[in-house]
Amino acid sequence: MPVLKSLAVAALALVALALAGCDRGSLKSFSFAAGSENTVLQPLVETFCKQRNTTCTFSYEGSLDIGLALQSAEGVAADAVWPASSVWIDLFDTGRKVKDLTSIAQMPVVLGVRKSKAAELGWIGKDVLMADILAAVKDKRLGFLMTSATQSNSGASAYLAMLSSALGGKAVIEPGDLDDPAVRGTVQALLRGVTRSAGSSGWLADLYVEAARSGAGYDAMWNYEAVLKETNDRLRPLAQEPLYAIYPADGVAVADSPLGFIDHGKGPATEKFFTELLAYLQSSEVQKQIAATGRRLPFSSDAIAAAPEPDWNFDPSRVVTAIRLPEPAVIRQALDLYQGALRKPSLSALCLDFSGSMQGDGEQQLQAAMRFLLTPQEASQVLVQWSPDDRIIVLPFDGGVRGGFEATGDAEAQAALLAEVVDEQANGGTDMYACASDALRRIAAAPDRADHLPAILILTDGRSEGDAQAFLDQWRRVEPHVPVFGITFGDADKTQLDALAAATSARVFDGRGDLAGAFRAARGYN
């Protein structure tokens, strides 16, 4: 295989030269489903697409979503997949739909700690073990941002590294190991350190930078080594201190950023475009540009790794010990365990728009989405099930809040919640601020709120009456701040939801095509 590829690379480089400047037989369009960490490489790919007169489109999804889509009956619509790690393809591509999977770069998942915090913890210039991180979390001296292990590869990687470490230096997590209460306890304690979760590594880095800019900063963030470099490059002009890179000495997971082709039978031109793109990405010139982003390249590449930045302990040439990923069945069990038990529990208030404009289709789809979300057998198939420790508040609203139902994530309690919702019928005006305000009041009153990740989720199809300012005044007084996420529906006007999400460090999901999918995405942030 390697020889074939090198031969192909050489041959294709010649072909590429020969074709430059003539658009004979150019392909119209080519699409990618990629992990958000690849955003920074998009311009490189687009340069290639322009040379070919091909329109390239990118949709950014969590690595697990790409995996789940591969496994689904509909499959992946894109021509190429580019998740963060090949493990999700090994795990989910049971129909062997992905061809020519090739690693573009290597990225260890590490813990970036605000430098003054790292100094306070005595971690500068030291070997730090996962046990040291656990001790800091237990002493309440450290909290971190981390993506959801059931949606995003960086979160899953950090989580699997935690599990590996909790096993006390076994070579790999084996079947049965996850039943050990001591292992579960250790990892659960580590995950109590999560201050915010997210479905995407790129979004998490944005959140860190925005918070630092506004002065409300976070302590730390699990993310790719290369994303930490991007983040620090953004923090520097803001005169903010960098994130100091901690490579847990007992092992980190390394993402291999694989790019693979999906043959939809569009003909040889599409596949040829893909193989030529691979050759382009492996060419000397482009490899140099990829290395400059802080990504690690195969040792055989002639590109020189980005220069070390000792200021924040960055050195892409340094050898890091990688954890060995477990067998597929064990990974699947670990993910179920994360979602159903070990993650920091959420305290979620769902504001459901039952105003008159939701009558008909809207109402039915909302009911269907709630059935999906509150039926464990369905939700667990795509790893968004609730855990018994979660707290769920359901608030149907129109011009005012109709009533509130609170429950735990226990299966019976979920069924009772669902029974309340199915009786609701669309009718009346729309005031999402009134609902958000009631949700916030309930969250603030929750006795064990410090042990939970709080969030408000507003599902609405339109323009709201009511007073945004009054809500935001109330919001500022509740600490820690509660993000207000939105899910749009029908011909929704996003402006109001966007403003609310921006003001509360949250985001808005488009539920128009796939409402259940939007709920799944939103759950990754809570």
Partner: protein
């Protein structure tokens, strides 16, 4: 090409009696069949490690001179001889990577015409300079007089079973437990062969069913230790190269893989040799097992492929450019070629593989 040769062939026919005589003479010379233009396309499954060999234009040309054009598709050696989904595609030949597969193919009702070992490649361990340096210190690796590094695989397996850290093996660059990773023995041959080798070493002899009962658990433990296993030797080798010392410290592969990669781009290799980063290294387990590559012919036309592949010319190409040894484990051609400096001329200490029954039960046990 094919068209011009066909024209040439037709031209010969037009030459009358003398031409007909020449045609008849050619027909009896299989290596000149291609000149007549009657090329037969042959479809079959091959192990991924031979893909580059068959894709070599010189190899294709020589196979072409036998009037054959190959349509080889890559499949795992174990699956190609037992998966109905593959066998139902009516392959005209199978080219797996182990002699046991011939036996398994027969049991699965494959109508075998001929089966002959065409190439051989010992199972080796790929690792990195700093690991070799450590293992030399702790005595697990020794160098032979001609500079070949041999690995005491039994001692390494014992250390892994004991949960020894890399540091205990003299490797300070790596943290945590030592490990070696192969492909999935239920799908891919290099992992399959390695499973046989591990069981033989633990049992101290070529194992039978009794030895399997006694040492099966320990063998399973070695494979459990590997975690996620790749489905193909080619994929694992790429993961080794891409992952480097930290992510892929030690893997199991075929002897020809690294050398083929080196020969594909000698400049790249020169650059790596000159660089300060860890260099890839090959260790020969002592003892090791030979992966034989028997060509199984099913369609009569495939018999000609067997003849082509065993000619000295193709055997020499297999060695000098792709690092494969001949049917008896010996090499054809000049030892003093580029590849000659990289690989030992002979492999000492080779164990036979356990019987097919034992291997099948072992693989089932590992996969359980």
């Amino acid at each position: 090409m094919a068209i011009s040769r066909r024209a040439f062939g037709l031209g010969l026919l037009g030459l009358g009696v003398a031409g007909t005589g020449a045609y008849l003479a050619l027909r009896d010379r299989p290596e000149l069949q291609g000149l007549l233009g009657n090329r037969t396309e042959l479809f079959g499954f091959i192990g991924g490690e031979k893909e580059a060999f068959l894709a070599d234009p010189d190899v294709a040309r020589m196979v072409g001179s036998y009037g054959l054009e190959l349509d080889p598709r890559v499949a795992g050696s174990v699956e190609m001889v037992r998966e109905p989904a593959l066998l139902s595609q009516n392959p005209q030949f199978l080219w797996p990577s182990s002699s046991i597969m011939v036996d398994m193919a027969r049991r699965n009702g494959v109508r075998i015409r001929r089966d002959d070992v065409v190439l051989n490649s010992p199972i080796v361990v790929y690792t990195w300079g700093p690991v070799v340096a450590g293992l030399i210190k702790t005595g697990l690796v020794t160098s032979t007089m001609d500079g070949i590094q041999q690995l005491d695989l039994k001692a390494l397996l014992d250390a892994i079973l004991d949960g020894a850290d890399w540091s205990a093996l003299g490797v300070d660059a790596l943290y945590g437990r030592s490990r070696i990773v192969s492909t999935d023995p239920g799908r891919s041959n290099s992992g399959f062969m390695f499973a046989g080798l591990v069981l033989s070493l633990l049992a101290g002899d070529v194992p039978n069913a009794t030895a399997l009962a006694e040492f099966g658990d320990k063998t399973q433990a070695i494979f459990r230790n590997m975690g996620l296993k790749s489905s193909s030797s080619g994929k694992l080798f790429e993961q080794y190269l891409a992952g480097g010392l930290g992510a892929a410290p030690m893997i199991v592969g075929y002897e020809n893989q690294l050398v083929e990669w080196i020969l594909a781009d000698p400049q790249r290799w020169a650059r790596i040799q000159a660089s300060a980063s860890a260099h890839p290294a090959v260790l020969y387990p002592r003892p090791t097992v030979f992966s034989a590559h028997p060509l199984i012919t099913i369609d009569p036309a495939a018999d000609r492929l067997l003849e082509a592949l065993t000619t000295p010319k193709l055997q020499e190409l297999a060695w000098t450019r792709h690092g494969f040894r001949g049917p008896l484990g010996t090499i054809t051609g000049n030892v003093e070629t580029a590849v000659g400096g990289l690989l030992p001329a002979e492999i000492a200490s080779v164990l036979p593989m356990p019987a097919a029954d034992v291997m099948l039960s072992l693989v089932d046990r590992i996969g359980a």
